[in-house]
Symmetry: C2
Subunit: 391 residues, 2 copies
């Protein structure tokens, strides 16, 4: 009747993953599909204690409106923490966001006009495609391999692009990490082409044996925006992330933030600042790394045992996901219902491509299921693939 | 250098109020400028207890990712609560947002194209203008008087508009309430013109003696979107609000929500659901009403004593603000620095007009300062006006 929707609304679609996950909502299913951190890693006791202290010491301020930039001590913590990635920034360059997803939304508003070219990896993070889509960009997939972005292809496609979106560490969906050499080369090529980099790093702390190379942003601080998150090192239900931006764009990002939700909950910001205060994170994150490493190894071992010849896969150096490729003729979307019958779920990789999806690719998360479930689930996946091949 | 901003970014500006408030950041100043609820009303003890229960009972779920729609029991509470406004809705029609400011952002994304006509009251809520501006509408001010929107002027300007934004209860900035008759007439005119209503109701619970008339949305549920908030009845630092929408627009609002920040913090939603569970709000809100009524009466009495002949003002039936008009020749923006010298601050009303600002109007908040401060501040305001007039 009366409702006329904006043009951009017609381009917005329900998350493919969300729709897929509905198929997998079945009691007893072993899910490698979700991107949910293991809830066993949530530091409930430390959070509860920090929250009680915030109520006792700063209750009224924690419950009041606060500045759009974010809570000062939290911004200071972020600026200090990022030194480990080779980034030398001031707290003024940190904007606290309602999850790093909101950072993507603000970047889209400030940098994308209808039809703007936006470069992305092949494949890329689906949530970024969703966050950028309402501003109606033209996505351009840049070729990528096991070391990350193909720099020559980037340079060939860079002209006139508003930015290139990159997730260099333990990428969602592929689990791959961009090599140090590739980072330097991409940063230089981006500066040469006059194309800013948007560097998304939600998983960077989740390395298994050695930390990833310095951030892309450390090489070209004036030509990049960096996104971070507390979702994977503390808890996603707090919705706390941040943007680091140079002065060329920070004022507009701040105005967009203010218009979007005034500020990120003061309450959550103060609780996290309180949790972080005594070096808690340096004791806590190693326990997450150790757990995810064990679970990743369990999945790799199970894949080697059950899926040799049925799947190709990579061995990530950290994060939450690995990436698989099914044999010729096996379509991941068609395989999924069969896998669900066998009580195991994954995400077909096609959802993660801006264009030319690879129908044989799949994303497997190794963090939500236990080691035992991982072994059972991988065996079930192998059965499903065999059944599919048997027709 | 490399940064090319989106066109919309050039239309976004720092909040005028934010800039003005910097002038007023002076130790010892009595501020009638801010829109901050009195922190003495924040139910810290109840919140702290509810939070402890959430950690104990549901800690892992409260810290995990959750659905974009929001937490079920909170959506049910909202649907039930809105019966008091004559609204008969199902929990499925409730989308939990990160403050009602985010509701405005989502509505803008889903309903506004560049150049779309968006009707607003005269004056209107500045935060709505800021939330809508990035989607580049053409704002059209509809004449308004003490009873609210001028329905004939609405009908004259309605053709082709995407929606009319209305804040009918204890409006920010004017404190005025739309009469029951005017609501029925506007709802009918809007339906006849095929123009949806966006009804914003952050202050509706803060009535002094009698509740406001039924919601506009109760008259035309399929032709309206309703925005509510927990900021004024519990605490703004939680950033919890909601949209109620008909099925014609809910799916798109939900997709926009998911792209914007995945979901509103699970943690905050569960805490508030826990606080609300035992009817706490029915005991708590009357204490806020009583406090704000006393403070409003103190301001009205002080205005009568000190400002007669120097200011015209209204007497709101609830909320946080009253609206004043300075004598001919007194410009509110120019008066402000003089008032600050006298240790009192207000917001010049010009910021709240989409066009043709009234330079003599001012907004006075009666909720942040104490009764004694209100008396002192109003006397100081009178002195500042006299000084201005004396040249």
């Amino acid at each position: 009747m009366s409702w006329t929707l904006a043009q951009r609304a017609h381009k917005m679609n329900p998350s493919v993953i969300r729709e897929i996950l509905k198929v997998t909502e079945k009691p007893g299913i072993i899910s490698f599909a979700g991107g949910l951190p293991s809830p066993s890693t949530f530091p409930i006791e430390a959070m509860a204690e920090a929250t009680a202290r915030v109520f006792a010491q700063d209750g009224r301020a924690a419950l009041q409106y606060s500045s759009s930039e974010g809570y000062g001590p939290l911004r200071e913590w972020v600026a200090h923490d990022l030194k480990k990635l080779g980034m030398a920034i001031s707290p003024d360059q940190v904007l606290i966001t309602t999850g790093s997803q909101q950072g993507l939304d603000l970047i889209a508003k400030v940098l994308i006009d209808t039809g703007s070219r936006v470069l992305v990896e092949t494949p890329t993070y689906l949530g970024a495609l969703q966050a950028f889509t309402p501003m109606e960009p033209e996505f351009v997939s840049v070729n990528s391999d096991a070391e990350g972005v193909d720099v020559a292809d980037f340079s060939a496609k860079a002209k006139g692009a508003r930015f290139m979106y990159v997730l260099p560490n333990f990428q969602n969906p592929t689990g791959r990490t961009m090599s140090a050499e590739r980072r330097v080369a991409l940063a230089q090529a981006a500066a040469a082409a006059g194309v800013p980099l948007v560097e998304d790093n939600p998983y960077g702390d989740l390395w298994f044996d050695t930390p990833p190379p310095p951030a892309l942003s450390s090489h070209v601080p004036e030509n990049s925006v960096y996104l971070g998150s507390f979702s994977k090192i503390l808890a996603p239900g707090l919705r706390l992330g941040y943007i680091v931006a140079p002065t060329a764009v920070m004022p507009k990002l701040l105005q967009a933030k203010q218009a979007a939700d005034l500020h990120t909950p003061s309450f959550n910001q103060r609780i996290v600042a309180e949790v972080l205060k005594d070096g808690f994170i340096d004791r806590h994150v190693p326990t997450i790394r150790a757990l995810y490493k064990r679970q990743c190894q369990a999945m790799l071992a199970a894949l080697a045992e059950h899926c040799t010849g049925l799947l190709e896969w990579n061995a990530p150096d950290g994060g939450m996901f690995l990436w698989g490729r099914l044999p010729a003729g096996v379509d991941a979307v068609k395989l999924l219902p069969m896998a669900v019958e066998h009580n195991v779920a994954f995400v077909p990789g096609a959802a993660f491509y801006a264009d030319h999806p690879d129908a044989r690719s799949i994303r497997l998360s190794f963090v939500t299921a236990s080691e035992e479930q991982i072994r059972t689930g991988v065996a079930a996946l192998a059965k499903a693939i065999r059944q599919f091949q048997a027709g």
